[in-house]
């Protein structure tokens, strides 16, 4: 493959790659660094690329390897991450001032519940064991086949299926227990609470009912509701939307809070 063709194809893939890395690291800076390192490493190894897999699969494999080295050194987040980060946000006036400022001044500072649902999934997925988190994103959001995930994560079909099944099952169970959008008893109402703060003129319930996941909550089974949630993640590009700046600000806050929380926690 020529350098020119590689650069051209990389341009077409880099958006998805960056979104994937952002979602598994929850860090804007790490996503930038890892994508940059992936480009350099791919360039260095370009002569070894024989086209046994697609260039996209090859690049995701390089990026996943770099990300895994970073992530293995970090503690996994907890299932109740949204409770912890909410509590921290409520006692942090500066966070809300910054967020409100973004909301009022930035063209990318709109609040949309769908964007927040995607952000929420990103944060909670960090409570899964790393391989399970990667498999869930690669299959459900970036729609790689099992055989491609085997290449990306350098593992067997059996293990990809195991990680995928267990990761998916755990996320279903967590959302079923916590998410008030699909369970009346759910403890987390953040997406609707924030809609009330950032879009005070909107009827929050009406807005939520525009989302398939919410509309079908009473009539669909948990597997289908998970698929609908995954559809939202596929539709949302964390870097390219009118809500990008507000959501990235929120993600950075959550990452800082969780890192501090995990550092201070005695296991």
């Amino acid at each position: 493959m020529t350098l020119e063709l590689f650069n051209q194809e990389f341009e077409g893939i880099v958006g998805q790659l960056k979104s994937y890395i952002l979602r598994i690291t929850a860090s804007i800076a790490d996503a930038e660094d890892i994508v940059h390192d992936t480009y350099l490493k791919a360039l260095d190894k370009l002569h070894t690329f024989r086209g046994d897999s697609s260039l996209k699969t090859w690049l995701f494999a390089i990026a996943s390897n770099i990300a895994k080295d970073n992530l293995r050194a970090q503690k996994r987040w907890t299932e109740n991450t949204t409770d912890i980060t909410k509590e921290a946000a409520l006692s942090n006036r500066q966070f809300f001032q910054e967020a409100m400022n973004i909301r009022m001044t930035s063209p990318y500072g709109q609040y949309e519940a769908k964007e927040h649902i995607a952000l929420c999934f990103t944060c909670i997925s960090k409570s899964l064991p790393l391989e399970q988190q990667l498999c869930v994103f690669l299959k459900e959001v970036y729609q790689f086949k099992v055989s491609e995930i085997m290449t990306i994560l350098d593992t067997t079909e059996a293990m990809v299926k195991y990680y995928l099944h267990t990761g998916r099952s755990k996320m279903i169970s967590i959302f079923e227990g916590r998410c008030a959008l699909i369970n009346k008893e759910g403890v987390c109402h953040q997406c609707s609470e924030l809609n009330g703060i950032f879009n005070p003129k909107q009827n929050t319930q009406e807005e939520l009912m525009k989302i398939d996941l919410v509309r079908e909550a009473k009539i669909s089974d948990k597997e289908h509701l998970f698929d609908l949630r995954m559809r939202i993640l596929r539709e949302v590009d964390p870097y390219k939307s009118k809500a990008t700046e507000l959501q990235l600000h929120h993600l950075e806050h959550n990452r800082r809070v969780m890192e501090k929380y995990l550092e201070e926690r005695v296991d």
């Binding site: 099992v146 059996a158 293990m159 299926k161 195991y162 099944h165 267990t166 099952s169």
Partner: protein, 185 residues
């Protein structure tokens, strides 16, 4: 034929009861303890009790192994275990809570850990052995044997509930979960 030969000897007549007891013991000891697929069996002696189960599973050994060795995941698929804390790896100590005795925590040590093949954990009173063997045709045979006992066993034997039903549920849960994963697209 055997009884005929014995009947002819005078020794047989003298030691009839002793021979019958020996034959009976041999039959019990050599009987397959994990005979029926998915059905548990228990053999009791004065100082020991051994419960076992085996079941055929149409799944890769790696999937069965992953299910058996990922401690935090047990309660999700296994209806007999409430929780396992710790890391299931060679030499590691784990804390297991079972539905059979929910108030009790079993402090166990992982004694053998042969990836995709054999896992052994136990304490001073008993040992549980899990084995996975390839049976061909995409099927593995899973077996689980727990032997408890010792010199003091007669004193507390009656306080330990039977394991058979719990073993059958464990094996059935494992089979269901492993085959579900294997058949996923």
């Amino acid at each position: 034929m055997l009884s005929f030969c014995f009947a002819q000897s005078s020794k047989w007549k003298q030691n009839k009861m002793k021979y019958l007891f020996t034959i009976l013991t041999i039959i019990i000891m050599t009987a397959p303890t994990t005979a029926q697929n998915g059905k548990a069996t228990t053999v009791k002696t004065t100082f020991h009790r051994e419960t076992s189960v085996r079941i055929d599973i149409k799944a890769d050994a790696a999937i069965v192994w992953a299910l058996l060795t990922k401690a935090p995941d047990y309660p999700r698929w296994n209806s007999t275990i409430t929780s396992i804390a710790g890391n299931i790896a060679l030499g590691e100590k784990i804390k297991l809570k079972s539905v059979l005795d929910p108030k009790r925590t079993f402090n166990l040590k992982v004694k053998e850990f042969e990836t995709n093949k054999k896992l052994v954990w136990g304490d001073g009173q008993g040992t549980r052995v899990y084995t996975i063997t390839n049976s061909g045709g995409g099927t593995v045979t899973f077996s689980m044997i727990e032997k408890i006992g010792g010199l003091m066993f007669p004193l507390y034997a009656k306080m330990i509930p039977p394991f058979d039903q719990s073993f059958e549920r464990f094996a059935a849960d494992l089979k269901k979960e492993a085959e579900t994963i294997m058949n996923a697209k």
